[in-house]
């Protein structure tokens, strides 16, 4: 299998795993609060399924990264390092802002996830542009 077709195959796999995980997250969130709020066993079951799909997504992402060439891996590594730093620094600052009542609302994990995603995406684009 050529490099291009291998990457295409792995990208599709990663997209499928990611979509499945996102869907299961929505099922856990909305299903457990709106559809089956009293059924504890079902709640635990869909949560375990969500975790299993998450593990699959991580493994799929690992395989995708390993299939990239050395420059692409370097760009992804830099993006991961920057987004990890942003997550730790931004997350702690956000939490402290909540604890010290600097912000009027409770800190939500979803904002941290968005920060990680946006930071990773921007870092990736900047990295790709710098080696052009």
């Amino acid at each position: 299998m050529s490099r291009q077709s291998t990457l295409k195959h792995l990208t599709t796999r990663l997209a499928v795993w990611t979509a499945a995980w996102v869907l299961s997250t929505a099922v856990v969130s909305f299903g457990s609060t709106l559809l089956w709020p009293e059924q504890e066993l079902l709640k635990v079951g869909v949560l375990l399924l969500n975790l299993a799909l998450g593990v699959g997504m991580i493994e799929s992402n690992r395989r995708y990264i390993l299939a990239l060439d050395e420059l692409q891996q370097k760009i992804h590594l830099q993006a991961a390092a920057i987004s990890l730093g942003a997550a730790v620094i931004g997350g702690i600052a956000y939490s402290l802002a909540d604890i010290t009542n600097v912000i009027p609302v409770d800190a939500e994990i979803s904002f941290l996830i968005m920060l990680i995603g946006i930071t990773y995406l921007i870092s990736l684009l900047v990295g790709m542009r710098s080696y052009r």
């Binding site: 490099r3 060439d69 050395e70 420059l71 692409q72 790709m128 080696y131």
Partner: protein
């Protein structure tokens, strides 16, 4: 680190995509190496060496050597 990849490629009438396929990397990586923005690993340098049938030091050289 500088290199003669662009010259060696041009001598063979290869595109960046041709060279990328031959050494199993992306075209962007070939472009970055040719422009001196990215230094390849030793295994990739050996691939270039085998492909062009030249020793590594005939393809890649230190900036100070030029």
């Amino acid at each position: 680190m500088k290199n003669r990849l662009k010259v060696l490629r041009a001598e063979r009438n290869w595109t960046q995509a041709d060279l990328a396929t031959a050494v199993d990397v992306s075209r962007q990586t070939i472009n970055a190496i040719e422009k001196g923005k990215f230094d390849p690993s030793l295994p990739l340098a050996f691939k270039f060496s085998r492909l062009f049938e030249l020793p590594i030091e005939a393809i890649f050289f230190d900036d100070d050597d030029s």
